[in-house]
């Protein structure tokens, strides 16, 4: 993994969390991080730091700043609290983990299809849970669909020996039940 590749990854993340912000605000953050990454790589190379170490240092800076990035976006954006944007950001944030892990270790090897299916699964589950949380008692359709997806994730996860998928299914079912119980209690 070269520092330039890691810098590209950071630049992509910046474009994700500045998406749909007012263009001057987004462009300022994008340009500022681009300059920072360039300076970081140039400085470390001038001091003889190995490329792998530079790449790890850039990844660590990105990871340490993730919470602040999301919080800054929330404060800056007029639309940041729209559920779809929040869910998309949360999904992107989760998908960054395997993406970063792939750059660090060979044990994680995701293809494009893996990212697309995981993104659809996470985003879809997020939207379903949101609708369930906002729904009224008796609105069982969303709960039933979420539970069915959870069960399917556990079944497929067990068949493919994918503990992450099974964990996702389990958490989705628990989340669905918890939201259904809360909704039922509120309607009493």
């Amino acid at each position: 993994m070269t520092p330039e590749r890691m810098a590209e990854l950071v630049a992509r993340w910046v474009r994700v969390y500045t998406w749909n912000l007012p263009p001057p605000t987004a462009q300022r953050r994008i340009d500022e991080i681009d300059a920072d990454l360039h300076d970081h790589i140039a400085h470390e190379r001038a001091h003889g730091t190995k490329d792998r170490r530079i790449a790890l240092s850039i990844a660590a800076r990105m990871l340490r700043g993730l919470a602040a990035d999301v919080s800054w976006r929330g404060r800056t954006s007029k639309t940041a609290y729209r559920p779809a944007v929040r869910i998309a950001l949360a999904t992107a944030l989760i998908l960054l983990l395997p993406l970063v892990a792939m750059q660090i270790t060979d044990e994680v090897d995701w293809g494009l299809a893996d990212f697309v299916s995981a993104g659809a699964l996470l985003g879809g589950a997020g939207l379903l849970l949101h609708r369930l949380a906002a729904g009224k008692a008796g609105n069982l359709a969303y709960g039933a669909v979420a539970t069915a997806i959870g069960v399917a994730a556990i079944v497929f996860g067990e068949a493919d020996d994918a503990p992450g998928l099974m964990l996702f299914g389990g958490l989705l079912i628990v989340g669905t039940v918890a939201l259904a119980v809360r909704t039922a209690q509120r309607s009493e």
Partner: protein, 120 residues
């Protein structure tokens, strides 16, 4: 990051002002993000640089408070590399940094410095 009390600076923000003041005293009126992160690492003796998001969020807050100003570097000065955003202490920022440093030296100040006014 610790939760902010209204009208106060976070420790990171105070640290940024302190480093900016020390740079100003050494004749460098302006500074940029990575240079600041690098100096903060050196001065704190830490092994790691401040996260991108943490650093630029703090710089943005200090600018909102009127403690820093910023502008883009001239394209000619950039010499082909991406242009840096250059920050500079305002008079109010320098005053607050002086207070914070003096307080630190006397060990008579709390963890947060007061800010004159909270932006809306």
């Amino acid at each position: 990051m610790p939760r902010r009390k209204p009208g106060t600076l976070l420790p990171l923000e105070t640290e940024i002002l302190g480093v900016a003041l020390s740079m100003r005293r050494s004749g460098e009126a302006t500074f940029h993000g990575f240079g600041l992160a690098q100096l903060m690492r050196e001065q704190s003796g830490s092994r790691s640089l401040t996260g991108h998001g943490t650093l630029y969020k703090a710089l943005g807050r200090l600018e909102e408070f009127g403690l820093l100003t910023s502008r883009w570097e001239d394209a000619a000065a950039a010499e082909g590399r991406p242009r840096r955003r250059l920050y500079e202490l305002t008079g109010q920022g320098a005053g607050l940094a002086e207070q914070a440093l003096a307080g630190k030296a006397d060990k008579a100040i709390g963890p947060s410095s007061r800010v004159a006014s909270e932006p809306t």
